[in-house]
Homo-oligomer: 437 residues x 2
């Protein structure tokens, strides 16, 4: 996880080159760029989607239910009929198991955990938490946003006019000094977006200390909530990495209701048809069910039973995730090796080597991200928009670029990354030349 | 659909009996009631759920997808992966077909149309329609509620503090004079809950004239919306009954965006795992997608494909619904024949004989509904709570009782209805005796 700081002998930092050498390098790179461009390629490194090969791993789930198996009623429940607001018992057990919670802390919902987060913010806006005023009745509501982060989190808070405050990310998680100070002094701060394990987009894992400090926050607002999006809880590329159970820690620290955890099987089974779950204190589960009972009669239990039959327990999920890792690992390693080969020592940017999750983040020189993405697009490579991992799409340094290696084939990925590093070098040299002028 | 007004020769209205005769009848009924009570029965006529036998009709849906069929990509979409916010093209076509709309007017979502209605009210509250202020920013928001109606509709508006105004139901739909007057003069009225076909709970079908008057409303509020819950669009017990297409009529009348229509397959395939759809003008579909793109990456497309394969078109759905009708019809007829046998001519209440839908409504004498439900419960028969089909659970006449014949077996239904009519007669006589005293 350490930054790649060592400089190999072969490559010199662009910053140390003369104007003449830079111009010469620029010419060579422009030539390479135009060659790529002429090929009329259409490549995409923007989408955090599993590949078809990964989805194939879960085809067995389609065969889980037939006339006989579906009629072996789950705890006396006919899954085909109405009822069971908070999810099939078997599905609750499975999702609880994934994050080491009790089934009583779990509600299993539809196929999108994003939707559950959206609904939870809606509940804060219109109903309120813990008997507090609904946020829509307050003059100002603010959320802390560790950056870079997940664009779709920020889109939810932006959609409802919630003000967002950037919090810098460090190598062990977000800046806890800042968070502790703001949360304990400002009661307009009602939430924070967190991806604790294999952050989107950097792949960082929050340290034990970070998580303990989260659990021990002393929020001024009684209805401050940590939106703990544990999207990549079992999404290892290499070894298993456990993080502390924040729900337990928060309960011990006297904050039993401060954490809303979200989990999903979207990147375990089918992204277009998995299960999502809400995990929290029993009191929060009870509170949420008060609104859910108005919202729906229940979510798709047929799909819940199918999942519960496909995965007996967490062990089965972990075995399954190893197969995902076998497909994903070469892709991550391909991207990282090309970054190493072309950029190590150039001082054109830094990146982390994640041990799990779905993304690699390239941190370019300040002011270069937008230009790199533009250049890549010109050569037929779609990257996630520069600025996307920031509230309001504003990257204050214009430096962060999210790379999503999962969806393309290895071959496409190789081509795309080759083009990407040319774009990085070009943009960096353009910038340096401008500074010299 | 006409009220049963004719009096058969055998039974005399209780109102015409002497006190002595009433007391004698009461004794006999109390004896019958106690006999039932002694049996310790546990019967339920409260739940508008399909029976297991009906759910069996759709078991084939579980076999629609296997490794090969799922990979025949739908319009180039891998249904197992992320994407396609507004629903799989095939599923949009199917749902559009059900209500004679264009696929471009349709969004297919999860398994609960109630949830879609909830989300739509949330959108009104927090985002607003047609550029109008979100309802949560207004001092007062009101909805018209034709009564008796669907308790879960009213629960949504109550949950968000929207004031509800009762509108009486007639035999051809709600009181249009009242609706026209209120909607055109009061801009705090933002919506109305409608079930146009086989209303819940009375089974009434709105007349052509009623629907034309709905389409031609001249609402004072630009963001007034008709919540058109077409829950029973193909749920015939006998002949097919078509109603006018309100979306077309409203567009012709200059109200292209006034109607939100909701459809679902919950009572066509699986109540616990069907499809729900939102149907409206293209402009409203566009507006809704602005929020949906923040809310989710997409709903379960695997289930959409399964449904689209199971039903080729509306004809196939209608054929399938005939099988449902074969199961439901004897149950409705059983209840109606016992009501006829025991109550016709007694002036103890009235009822309609619905041609479709899921419910029969018994309208007792004023002040008797709560007592009847209480008596039934005492004898082991659960009915829907008296008052449930009204906003705030307040039936101003305490007279409406919803009977749900779908879920119990024929035998259980016979027993339960036998007990029910005893309770009706007892409660009516109790009331008459009190009036005499």
């Amino acid at each position: 996880m350490a930054k790649e700081a060592k400089q190999p002998k072969e490559l010199r930092p662009y910053g140390e080159m003369s104007q003449k050498k830079l111009l010469k390098e620029k010419d060579a790179l422009t030539q390479a760029y135009n060659d790529f461009k002429a090929r009329g390629l259409s490549l995409d490194m923007s989408r955090g989607k599993p590949s078809a090969q990964q989805l194939d791993l879960s085809m067995g789930i389609l065969d889980m239910l037939d006339g006989r198996s579906i009629m072996k009623l789950s705890h006396g429940v006919d899954v085909r009929n109405y009822g069971v607001l908070d999810g099939l018992p078997e599905a609750k057990e499975l999702m609880a198991d994934l994050v080491d919670a009790r089934p009583s802390q779990v509600i299993v919902l539809g196929s999108s955990s994003l939707n559950v987060m959206f609904d939870t913010v809606v509940r804060g806006m219109l109903v309120g938490f813990a008997g507090c005023k609904p946020w829509c009745k307050l003059p100002q509501v603010r959320f802390l946003c560790p950056v870079p982060g997940y664009d779709r989190h920020f889109a939810i808070t932006e959609h409802f006019g919630i003000d967002m405050i950037n919090v810098p990310m460090h190598h062990d998680g977000p800046d806890m000094d800042m968070i502790e100070k703001m949360v304990s002094t400002d009661d307009s701060i009602k939430g924070i977006w967190c991806v604790p394990k294999f952050t989107n987009p950097q792949g960082i894992v929050y340290s034990d200390e970070t998580i303990e400090r989260f659990a021990s926050l002393k929020p001024k607002a009684k209805d401050f909530r940590i939106f703990w999006d544990n999207a990549y809880s079992v999404h290892y590329l290499y070894e298993t990495i456990e993080i502390p159970n924040i729900l337990e820690l928060a309960a011990k620290a006297g904050n039993p209701d401060m954490v809303f955890e979200f989990v999903s099987t979207s990147k375990i089974t089918f992204s277009g048809g998995g299960l999502a779950a809400f995990v929290s204190s029993e009191a929060n589960v009870f509170e949420m069910k008060q609104t859910m009972t108005v919202q729906t009669i229940g979510y798709d239990k047929v799909n819940m039973l199918r999942h519960a039959k496909f995965f007996k327990d967490k062990e089965a999920v972990l075995e399954h995730m190893k197969k995902h890792a076998e497909i994903l690992r070469p892709k991550f390693e391909m991207v990282l090796s090309i970054l190493d080969r072309d950029l190590k020592g150039r001082d054109a940017g830094t990146w982390e080597s994640p041990r799990g999750g779905y993304f690699i983040t390239f941190e370019a020189q300040d002011g270069c991200a937008r230009r790199i993405v533009e250049l890549a697009k010109g050569a037929g490579v779609v990257m996630t928009d520069a600025g996307a991992p920031f509230p309001y799409h504003k990257d204050p340094h214009d430096s962060m670029i999210r790379i999503a290696p999962s969806f393309p084939t290895l071959e496409a990925l190789e081509q795309a990354t080759n083009i990407f590093t040319v774009c990085v070098r070009l943009a960096t040299i353009e910038k340096l030349l401008k500074e010299i002028e």
